[in-house]
Amino acid sequence: MSVARSTSARKSSTAPKSAKKTATSKEKGRTRPPAGQSSAEHRGDLLEAMLRIRRFEERCVELYSAAKIRGFVHLYIGEEAVAVGINEALTPEDAVVSTYREHGHALARGVTAEAVMAEMYGKATGCSGGRGGSMHLFDASRRFYGGSAIVAGGLPLAAGLALADRMREQPRVTCCFFGDGAFAEGEFHETANLAALWNLPLLLVCENNLYAMGTALAREHAQTDLAMRAASYGMPAWAVDGMDVEAVEQAASRATEGIRAGTGPHFLELRTYRFRAHSMYDPDRYRNKAEIEQWKARDPVSRLTDRMRENGELGARELARIEHQITDEIDRAVESAEQAPEEPVENLLRHVTSARRRVVS
């Protein structure tokens, strides 16, 4: 397998360009729709999906302050383009493995705002029956495998999902989200090695938001070019502008095409930023205002909105309609979570072992 080179300088180029630059000769031969060809309607869907995540989480902030939601809550605000862009390249048969910062991944995957919100409330109707909370969202019917609060803990599991597909020759992709912090864990390296060695249909999506809690990238990595390091395992690896949903989608499609064609795992480093603190508990003392403002200027939501406006693809009225519809959806999710029954304490010991366990005697 030939190895793609990532661009090494963070500032150097935009994603589609860098992706083209780093294509292997085999991949170059494949025809891909040129950038900018996707329709206005499609861009509208991307915008709506990002806005759903943004507004959902803004509501979470309010609900957290009102003590309706407790526990650790990690917001994705600023990173929406990653979840939405990646999801565009996946089919319902594909699997997604996520982290504790997974509201965006879950919503993009189609887990309903209602089911996610109910879980945040710890209600019986939540997508994990009230056992998981914000950090442990699951939806087996959508092949959404959570929801893990152990940094990098989902990576080996994702390799296993991909292994099962490979062994049964299922043309499916497993997508695993993780952060730059996770990249420093042994799990990432063990999994990258195993996946490349066994040619697994695995899409490794590193959300490089420049911080692992309060530790900046350069303070956690001896070599900060993550795509280059991933490429050293013998897999195609690209760095992508994670603030541009269309660039993310394009890179993801290219990667999943490669994976579906049997060329094994692919790695995407999404260069992104979280606009808010690591979690609701974090006073965010390790970043300066200027840096945050600089990244906010690249807000993926306003960037797409502006692009669509300039193209004449989005009027104020249409935007208001989308906003209104999402507000409605979230209102209903909150209302339904408020009304939803609590999981009875009599059920405390449920789901420790399977109820359907066959007692052999």
Partner: protein, 331 residues
């Protein structure tokens, strides 16, 4: 070595375990074996010797040295409908995969509100006695038995080595199997099973009336020899094999103590916080008024298991220690 045959055959614990895996691989194409050196090498303890030739490298899969990755991959494959048997060379190395076992395998069902059962089997060797020194000799079964969400079994006999794997694979939840390294060469007659093997109940391996010797895994043979020695002195010892360390079958233990009124718990782990501690506590909770003597425990000395033969022997529970403990209880 037929499984379903009717003849009694001579075999070893190692071959019995291998035959169990061969049967599993033959009868269910979702089953595959994965671990370090399970293929070309034939398994670090020779358990999987020949399986690669029979089933090929897809289903008898050599993994890199990556305990966390391949145990986690087993979890993922199980979630996706496979029935992986993951082998970890020894319990000492399983600590590198403990995160996957505890934080993923054991918790996914619960955290997902029942959506994600993990039908995974993990096998590993445990125990000391072969002068392998501390990093290859520990008995951490009790740590695993501490964890809700997994089942922990310790086949101590050839029959159990041969017949516990199938129900373990049929279990929708993760099952961790501990094979004591000193048992692999044990040989004996293997009769066709009278009934399907049971993962829920302890077994009485030798009935007795004066004292209950409660053991599991590698300590069972020691308890049985101790019972012979006690019998020669006229003390009738009942030997209980716990077999399943989680969930513990306290009924068999309670019933035994109700008959004998004395108990010795034999456990190769360190006494502090051991499975023996748990069993003793259960006896105290459930059978205190049946006891005619304090519960005795025979465990390893609180020291990393040393290399030198005489030091290792002294550190480990020995037959004489069991006999002496029984005397203290009976006299």
């Amino acid at each position: 070595m037929g499984a379903g045959g009717t003849e009694v055959s001579k075999t070893t614990y190692r071959e019995a375990m291998r035959e169990a895996m061969r049967e599993a691989l033959r009868s269910d194409d979702r089953v595959f074996l994965m671990g370090e050196d399970v293929g070309r090498y034939g398994g670090c303890f020779g358990v999987s010797l020949g399986l690669l030739e029979e089933f090929g490298p897809e289903r008898v899969r050599d993994t890199p040295l990556s305990e966390s990755a391949f145990v986690g991959a087993g979890i993922g494959a199980a979630l996706a409908g496979m029935r992986p048997i993951v082998e970890i060379m020894t319990v000492n190395f399983s600590l590198l995969a403990l995160d996957q076992i505890l934080n993923n395998a054991a918790t996914l069902l619960h955290m997902s509100g029942g959506q994600l059962p993990v039908p995974l089997v993990i096998r590993m060797t445990t125990g000391a006695g072969r002068q392998l020194a501390a990093q290859h000799s520990h008995s951490l079964e009790g740590w695993y038995a501490h964890i809700p969400g997994i089942r922990v079994i310790a086949p101590a006999t050839i029959e159990d080595a041969r017949h516990m794997l199938a129900p373990a694979l049929a279990d929708p939840d993760p099952v961790v199997i501990f094979e004591h390294g000193s048992l692999y060469n044990a040989s004996g007659e293997l009769a066709p099973p009278a009934a399907p093997v049971d993962l829920d109940h302890a077994a009485i391996r030798r009935p007795g009336t004066d004292i209950s010797l409660i053991a599991y895994g590698g300590s069972l043979p020691k308890a049985l020899v101790a019972a012979d020695e006690l019998a020669a002195e006229g003390i009738s010892a009942e030997v209980i094999d716990l077999r399943t360390l989680r969930p513990l079958d306290t009924e068999v233990v309670t019933a035994s103590v109700a008959r004998t009124h004395r108990a010795v718990v034999i456990d190769e782990a360190w006494r502090t916080g051991s499975l023996a501690a748990e069993v003793s506590a259960r006896i105290a909770e459930e059978s205190l008024y049946e006891l005619d003597a304090p519960v005795e425990r025979v465990c390893s000395e609180e020291v990393p298991i040393p290399y030198a033969r005489q030091l290792e022997e002294t550190a480990l529970p020995q037959i004489a220690d069991v006999v002496a403990a029984a005397h203290r209880a009976v006299d």
